[in-house]
Amino acid sequence: MFEVIPPRPAPGGVAGVGGWIRRNLFSSPANTLLTVVTGVFVVYVGLSVVLWALFDASWGQVWANQRLFAVYRYPADLLWRPMAVLAAMMALIGVMGGAGRRNEILRGLFWSLVAFVAFVTVIALLFWPSVRVLWAGVLAASLVGYAVGVARPSFVRGLPWAWVAWLFLGFFLLYGVTPGSGLLRIVPARDWGGFMLTLILFTGIVPSFPLGIALALGRRSKLPAIKYVCTGFIEIVRGAPLIMWLFVASLLLPLFLNTDPNNLPAILRAYVAITLFSAAYMAENVRGGLQAVPRGQTEAARALGLGGWQTTSLIVLPQALRAVIPAIVGQAIGLFKDTSLVFIVGLADFFRVTEIVANQPASLQVTGGVKLELYLYVALIYFFFAYRMSIASRQLEKQLGVGTR
């Protein structure tokens, strides 16, 4: 006679925490030995790092130079200007995050950034009276942006233009308008630096986007002249390392424009080099996406009577770009890390400030030096952002891989 056999719990060693541990750590004598040896190693390394960080390391110089790390020599009384740009940026990201809150990835990215801002805000509230209000403002701007995004998701359509406007207005706000003194006085580019400069250079990816698309389309053009010029540009730029292009740009741009090198701030030269370099890589990413769009798509569009530009911009590009978002995020991570190369043209970005701090008299007086501490701090900050982006890139890959709509 049929009887339902009730499910029994798995015998030990298959399920449960114990089972997991047995399977993953002690499945065989060799594995057990491996676990013990690596375990001892990990504990030893971990413990010595923690002990060092807590007792031997001197974090004073890291703490004391936060302003250099953040904005370098940007005047203290004008800090509200970069902070306003930052607040605008966070607000725009907030709109994006709010409108796209159903998208797990966008939401995650936004809240990670907010968490970072909130963390700094708390520290500011506790220890840095001079920037308390500013950081609170940035935090508020992010949340307001989010609220706006939730309430009016249609604002997203205007976002590309908002970003362009942000780029230009932000630049003017940072640079200033009037000579002499005053709230809007000009801050020469040589005083810009720190993490602010790293972010500024990172925005080079924004103009590289349209440029890269144009180059990619040019490379796939049927017209040989356009094709070869674009291919040549892409391959030559990609053939040499960014640091060389930064160096070459800082040498040649003043010559190309026949002007005195001093008229062309190093930031501008680095920005041009970064943008063009990034555009060449962007072009290759986009080309990968273009190749992935089936030919039938173009044919269907043409058969409907759409023109060449309409076909490209309405049918081919949207699909191509969508397919290469993970690659573009990957490129963004690369660019974020590569901004550290601008030391070669004498800029004091986040990375270079470290060397400056390390050579301060106060740093040199510390026995044993503070380089280890400084570089660990810098590495940690870079890591936070780069790692967060790489997580997003992986999620995107999964999302696009699963259900392409």
Partner: protein, 259 residues
């Protein structure tokens, strides 16, 4: 080539009708490969022409030449009084007046069904969005899937996708519809729903050139059947002619395989 070129088979439309497509002495090469050889074909308004032939015989190439998805090297193609020359304007004109349905649907995966359909009317015909959507819904209704308007193509079955593709072509208000094996990528059980739409369209008097091996369809609404092989028109006749008394040996051989 020999000096005495054999006279090509002409597939002229019955006299009395008004020719909407005229193809004269059409020749096309892919590199050195001569795909279309001396094609002469005309189609009257309201006629349904079915093109059959073995794989690689140039059927797709022929109808793709008609809306200039492929460029021909010799001969003339006139669609609704507009000759396909090197003039871009003429090409655009012809494409506007011909709708095409592909074997692989070629719906735009990043747009909803409604956006797929209204895209060309809005961008090419410059209609207002509301007007375009109204027409789109009308044709969606007609192909029998009004409820799918806001879905993405990836969420539809093959038969539904192909019906959307037909609606998309129809919304542009074409004078001629070109079908390139519209049912051969479909599961057998959904072929019927697409054919139904096509039959209805034919009965409404749409001019159609259909590449298909659905002989049932040919018999039901086809005015003429054209058999192509190796880039040539081998035999022309009514569907009955092909079923009952095909003339050429090649035709017989081919028909024996598909019927």
């Amino acid at each position: 080539m020999s000096n005495v070129t054999p006279a090509p088979v002409r597939a002229d439309a019955p006299a009395g009708g008004q020719a909407i497509i005229t193809i004269e002495g059409l020749n096309k090469w892919f590199g050195d490969f001569h795909v279309l050889r001396d094609i002469n074909l005309s189609v009257n308004q309201g006629e349904v022409v079915v093109v059959i032939g073995p794989s690689g015989s140039g059927k797709s190439t022929l109808i793709r030449c008609i809306n200039h998805l492929e460029e021909h090297q010799e001969g003339r193609i006139v669609v609704d009084g507009t000759e396909l020359t090197d003039d871009v304007r003429n090409i655009d004109l012809v494409r506007r007046e011909t709708g095409m349905v592909f074997q692989s649907f070629n719906l735009f995966p990043h747009l909803t069904v409604l956006e797929n359909i209204t895209l060309a009317p809005i961008r090419v015909r410059k209609w207002k969005r509301t007007q375009a959507e109204e027409r789109a819904r009308f044709f969606l209704d007609k192909v029998g899937i009004p409820e799918q308007a806001l879905k993405y193509p990836g969420q539809l079955s093959g038969g539904q996708q192909q019906r959307v593709a037909i609606a998309r072509a129809l919304t542009m208000g074409p004078k001629v519809m070109l079908f390139d094996e519209p049912t051969s990528a479909l599961d057998p059980e959904v072929i019927g729903e697409v054919l139904e739409v096509m039959v209805a369209l034919a009965q409404e008097g749409m001019t159609m050139i259909v590449v298909t091996h659905e002989m049932g369809f040919a018999r039901e609404v086809g005015d003429r059947v054209i058999f192509m092989d190796a880039g040539q028109i081998v035999e022309v006749g009514s569907p009955e002619h092909f079923f009952l008394a095909p003339r050429e040996a090649r035709t017989k051989a081919f028909l024996s395989k598909i019927l």
